[in-house]
Every structure is written in C-alpha cells, then in structure tokens.
C-alpha cells in the first residue's frame, strides 16, 4: 500500500471556487474496494430500502403514537379534542351549507352525508398537510439518526388514520342518531378505508419530498386543498352537476380520487345511497388510485433519499 494514503495529499495551491469533478484516486478507490467500504450516504436499492423500512415498523408505530399523544398535551381538554374537532367542523359546515345555502336539497340523510364527506376528506387533507412538513419538521431527527426517511411520512399518515378512526366512532354515533340502520354494507368501510390509506400514504410521500426541497409548498397547500375540497362533492351531491355537464368534464370530475373514497364511504354507511348513485367503475378506480399513488409516491420519495438531511 502506498505510503501517502493517510496523508493530506492536497497540493498547496488554492482550489477553484467551484471545484470541477475530481477523478477518483485509484489507490484510495482500490483500498475502499479491498475492505468493502461503500460510498457514504448512497441510496440503497429499492428492495433493500423496503427491507430497512419494514425493519423500522416498530419505530413508525411508536413515533405515530407518541406524536398523537403529544399533539394535545398543551390543551386543557387534552385528548377530548380528538372528538371535538371533527364535531365542530361538521357543525360549521352544517350551518353554512345545510341551513344557509340549502345544498341539502334532494339529499336524504343530509347530516350523515355531510359528516361522512367532511371526515373522509379531512383524512386526505390533513395527511397531505402533515406530509408536506414530515421531513422538514423533523430535520433534527433526520440529521441525528439514520433510518429510512420514508418512515416519517408513513408515520404521519398513520397519525391521521388514527384520528380518522376516532372520527369514524363519532360518525357512527351521528349516523345511528339520525336513524340510519346498521347493515352488512358497513363492512365495506374496511376496504374503502384501506385503499384510501394507501392512496394517502403515496400523497404524503410525494408532498414530503416536495416540502423538504421547496419550503414555499407549505404556504401554498391550503389553497390547493380547499379547491380540491370544493370539487369533491363534500357538501353537495356532485351527480346533480355532472349529469348536465359536458361528457369530458363529468368524466374528469367522477375520476377525482377524493370523490371516489367519499362516495364509497357514504355507500357503505348510509342505506339511502344506492349503488346506482355512485360514479361509474368506482371500485376499480379506488384500487387504481391507491396503487398508482402508493407505488409512484414511494419510488418518487426514495429517489431523493440521500438528500433529505441537506440544508
């Protein structure tokens, strides 16, 4: 082995301000290969990355639980807010859309209809917002410890899923109070929720990468999300609009993933929402969106794995 390896081998002249790519030192490269050293911070292949992420599943679960517990520690009512927040949300929208604007025309069981829409959309909305800040908000953790960064957006999705399950308890109570019967259709909630969770995880991963790079995203997202909410038929029956709209517009509106997941949940919970009220091909679309967002989001996030600690 050459004598010079452990020495400062730099020539004394000042290097240029923008260093041109230095060719690898063949001696050092050979030494690294001889002892199986790898380039630091290199992104692992997708399969290996997935294996490491799976190995951190306990971390993801604990992180989600701890974060959820910490969310309300500074509020006096504590965990009660987990139930109060969706209820207050539903109250506000009922006041405006149900009582003032009368969008309830022609919708039987308007209160369950409205609450389902709001709770399901809130799941996607808050996951996107949490995902945007998932990496940038935990930068200390990212810089201190090594773990697959995808654990953070996945954990944030899990937090929102736990919130949603809490909201679904509230929703079940509301639905029953409004006199909607319990049917075997309620079981359809499980696949609908599962597909939406996969879809949301994909969105959170995409937003986490964008949010880690472009800090302006966090300012912009609330507006994007509000627009999305208004075209997703949360407070009104979208089919009254799409039936008279041009074909292309109605196809695009009916393929909206938020609408798909909201309608599936309504179909599962409310007996007056019949299969013919649903947009066409609703289950294949729900599955397609989940797979597309899940896979594309995961790969998109993984592509920038080595860059998340920068800044």
């Amino acid at each position: 082995m050459p004598q010079t390896l452990a020495r400062p081998a730099r020539a004394p002249e000042a290097p240029p301000v923008s260093p041109a790519a230095v060719p690898p030192d063949p001696g050092l490269q050979a030494l690294a290969e001889q002892y199986g050293l790898t380039v630091s911070g290199a992104r692992p292949p997708l399969r290996e990355y997935t294996r490491r992420l799976w190995a951190r599943r306990h971390f993801i679960a604990s992180f989600a639980t701890a974060r959820l517990a910490a969310t309300y520690t500074t509020a006096r009512l504590g965990q009660l807010w987990q139930v109060m927040t969706p209820l207050l949300n539903a109250g506000v929208y009922y006041l405006i859309f149900g009582m003032l604007l009368h969008t309830s025309h022609g919708i039987p069981n308007f209160i369950p209809f409205l609450c389902t829409g709001i709770f399901v959309f809130t799941f996607t909305q808050s996951t996107v917002l949490a995902g945007t800040r998932a990496v940038s908000g935990s930068i200390g953790l990212v810089r201190a410890l090594h773990f697959p960064r995808a654990a953070l957006p996945v954990a944030h999705t899990l937090i929102q899923l736990q919130q949603l399950i809490c909201s679904m308890g509230v929703l079940a109570a509301i639905v029953l109070i409004c006199g909607v019967p319990v049917t075997w259709h309620w079981l359809l909630m499980v696949p609908a929720l599962l597909l939406q969770s996969v879809f949301n995880t994909g969105l959170a991963l995409v937003m986490a990468r964008i949010g880690a790079k472009t800090t302006d995203t966090a300012q912009l997202m609330p507006f994007v999300l509000r627009t999305w909410m208004y075209v997703s038929g949360v407070f009104y029956n979208l089919s009254t609009f799409t039936s008279s709209a041009p074909h292309l517009v109605s196809v695009v509106l009916n393929c909206n993933p938020a609408l798909i997941y909201i309608d599936l949940m309504r179909y599962a919970l409310i007996d007056t929402v019949r299969a013919q009220d649903l947009p066409p091909h609703v289950w294949p679309l729900a599955l397609g969106w989940a797979l597309l967002a899940g896979v594309a989001g995961y790969v998109f996030f993984w592509k920038a794995e080595e860059e998340y600690g920068r800044g």
């Binding site: 452990a6 630091s40 200390g140 201190a144 654990a151 920068r310």
Partner: protein, 271 residues
Amino acid sequence: MADTTIEGTPAPTGAPAPSDDRTPTVICDHVHIVYKVHGGSAGKGSATAALNRIVRRRPSAAVREVHAVKGVTFVAHKGEAIGLIGSNGSGKSTLLRAVAGLLPPAAGRVYTHGQPSLLGVNAALMNDLTGERNVVLGGLAMGMSRAEIRDRYPGIVDFSGINEKGDFVSLPMRTYSSGMAARLRFSIAAAKSHDVLMIDEALATGDRAFQKRSEARIRELREEAGTVFLVSHNNKAIRDTCDRVLWLEKGELVMDGPTEEVVAAYERSAG
C-alpha cells in the same frame, strides 16, 4: 509526495503510516463541499424584488455559495480515535456531516464501512416528548429491537445522569437544560456500538463527571473495533481521548498526525 509541506506549516513528521494489517473504516478522497445559504444579506428582500427575480429567471441574489471544505483527503482505521481541531468555521462539522452521508460532496468521494453516526449539538430529538419516549424512539430509529431497548433502558438513563436530580426522564425534553439534553442524546447514541461514531462538540455542555463517563464510553466503543471522531475546542478533551488529530483551517487540512504534535502546533499558531 510522501511528505507534502503545506504553506507556512511544518510537514507532519511521524504521522501514523498506514500498514497493511490495519483496516480502514473511513476514506475521504479529495472531498470538496459547497453548500448554498438562503437568506444571505445580499439583495433586496422585498416582494417586488423576488417577483422580478422569478420573472427574469435569475437565481436569487440571497442565495450564496460557501465552499466549506476544500479537497480533504485522509484514511481512518479501526480502533482509532481522531480529533478534529481548528478555529470556528474551519469546516470541521461540515466534513463530519459529509462522512455521515448527510451532505453529499460537490466533488471527491467519501467511502465508509457501515453507516457512520453523527452526534451533533444541534441534533435535537423530539422536544415535545418525554425523555423516556426519546430513549425508546431513538433506539427504535437506530434499529434496536423493543427487547434490546428494554434491557438497555436503565443503563442509558443512568449513564446520562439526568435522573440524579429528580425524576426528569418523565418530563418533556423541552424542559431540559441544554447540558441535560446533550447528555441524553449522547447516551442514546452511545447505547449501540457503531462502526463509526462522530461526536460534534456534544460533550462540551456536560459537567465534569459526565465528561469522565463519556471518555470511558468512547474508549469502550474504540475497543469494540469502531472508529471515533471528536470535534472539540477543548484541547484537553482531545488530548485525553484521541490518538490522532486532523487540523482544519479554512476548509483545508493543515496537519494530520499524532495528537501531541498537532495540538502543540495548533496551540502555537493560535497563540
């Protein structure tokens, strides 16, 4: 180019020469690091100025490039404890972040054995969670199993010494003093044996008793065939723990050699 003399400094004599029986753990090959700083003083900060920049597709004047590390080359071996010294802003922390794989070099390469872990002063864990939760989450994030954490939990808390003055471990970490937080972070990271552990001034805030304990732990980690890097402005801590020292100045490696020689040269230059 066996003994390159670098401007104004004596050539390091008697620097540890690599021999074939020593296993390298970190190889830095002409590493250059350039990073962008947002929100520098240059340029107007007004909204119209920002809009003008976007319309004309010009890079923001407020983004400046800092060439923090300029072509550093060294090889670290198993069982070495290496100190990094140099004045503030000489690129020590930046270099360690590149070795940890957190800051990709603009040119040159860093090869490492396993995954180096960096422990810095600013590496806050989760401030709104209790110390207890931080121990468990930190352990899980490092890839320890729940059973392993259960076994080591008392050891970690005792080592950090944060429970010496009452039950602090069940309080949120935001209520800790900076010294207590730094001690807990070090204890969590040191609970696992690392191939390469880098400590960035994390021990400076600890008290004397804790510094003694951490020096002992660093020696243990070295015996577990790891490599330890230590950044410190405390030359005594460097002398006590390190057997080799890298002296960085303005992003360049000035000297690389046995602790006593390099620290003495550094002290002479600092006056």
